[in-house]
Symmetry: C2
Subunit: 159 residues, 2 copies
């Protein structure tokens, strides 16, 4: 299913970013914290944005619409060793759902200007959830094989 | 679409929790940090768990399979005022996708014992992502209307 929307799947908007090609995309939003994008919420869902401007961070859920077929064990962008797909954030996944925490810069009607985007321009938006530190922030979490990795991507990015 | 799986949607397992009725479920996992559950990954996806035991926290994405119809503006469980759906974590959402960060206690083959569950027993699992503090932890995030609310649910829970 990854690589296209599920039949009957409901999207609530689209994400605009500076990146139109997979190779340009940073591996994770926090690696390009200033990359600005725009979340365009579809007109019929705009009422759902009421009071969103009170939140400094948002969780975006979106469709990895151009990811390839999921391989359950693979080499991630950030390591030379193989790991399981559920132990990495690679876009080619069985569910095909992407997640990025972004900073909300400003709301302009049904458009949200955000920073920290790491998805392709035109990515279908599945949901926006408010980020709540007491539920979502675990700064001391242990990150397995990713602990040893620098923040930067391997040369070549997402090739 | 919320309330049932999308046509053709791919699930990768099921989440077992102590709660079989909606009214029993805590409003958010961090409010019941010791509630233990089991993530049962379907046999064919089990290879994707390789090296997951190195991560202390996991992001579970799942289907809100028994949520009602989405209302774009509503009163959340935790407040008496109305807010937009994208400014709350209410289960009845257009995308119908739930998200909870849980602590990984132990891996037993294709079963993950986790703490901090806040979903119904039998919830369909859509994805597991490793929690990585430098991408996902923003302890100083501002939480809008939720800042003023205590951690506890209103009496009656999710009625």
């Amino acid at each position: 299913m990854s690589g296209r929307a599920a039949a009957g799947e409901r999207t609530v908007g689209v994400i605009r970013t500076p990146w139109t090609e997979v190779r340009e995309v940073p591996v994770q939003g926090a690696m390009a914290p200033d990359a600005e994008g725009v979340v365009e919420v579809a007109r019929q869902y705009a009422p759902g944005l009421k009071d969103i401007e009170g939140f400094s961070h948002l969780i975006l859920l979106y469709r990895f619409h151009r990811a390839g077929r999921a391989e359950l064990v693979r080499r991630p962008f950030l390591d030379d060793d193989e790991h399981g797909l559920f132990a990495m954030r690679h876009p080619a996944r069985p569910g095909g759902i992407g997640l990025t925490v972004v900073r909300l810069v400003a709301r302009e009607g049904a458009r949200l200007r955000v920073r920290g985007v790491d998805m392709l321009d035109g990515t279908p938006l599945l949901d926006i959830k408010p980020y709540v530190a007491r539920w979502d922030a675990f700064p001391d979490a242990r990150a397995g094989w990713l602990e040893q990795r620098p923040d930067g991507a391997k040369p070549g990015g997402r090739e």
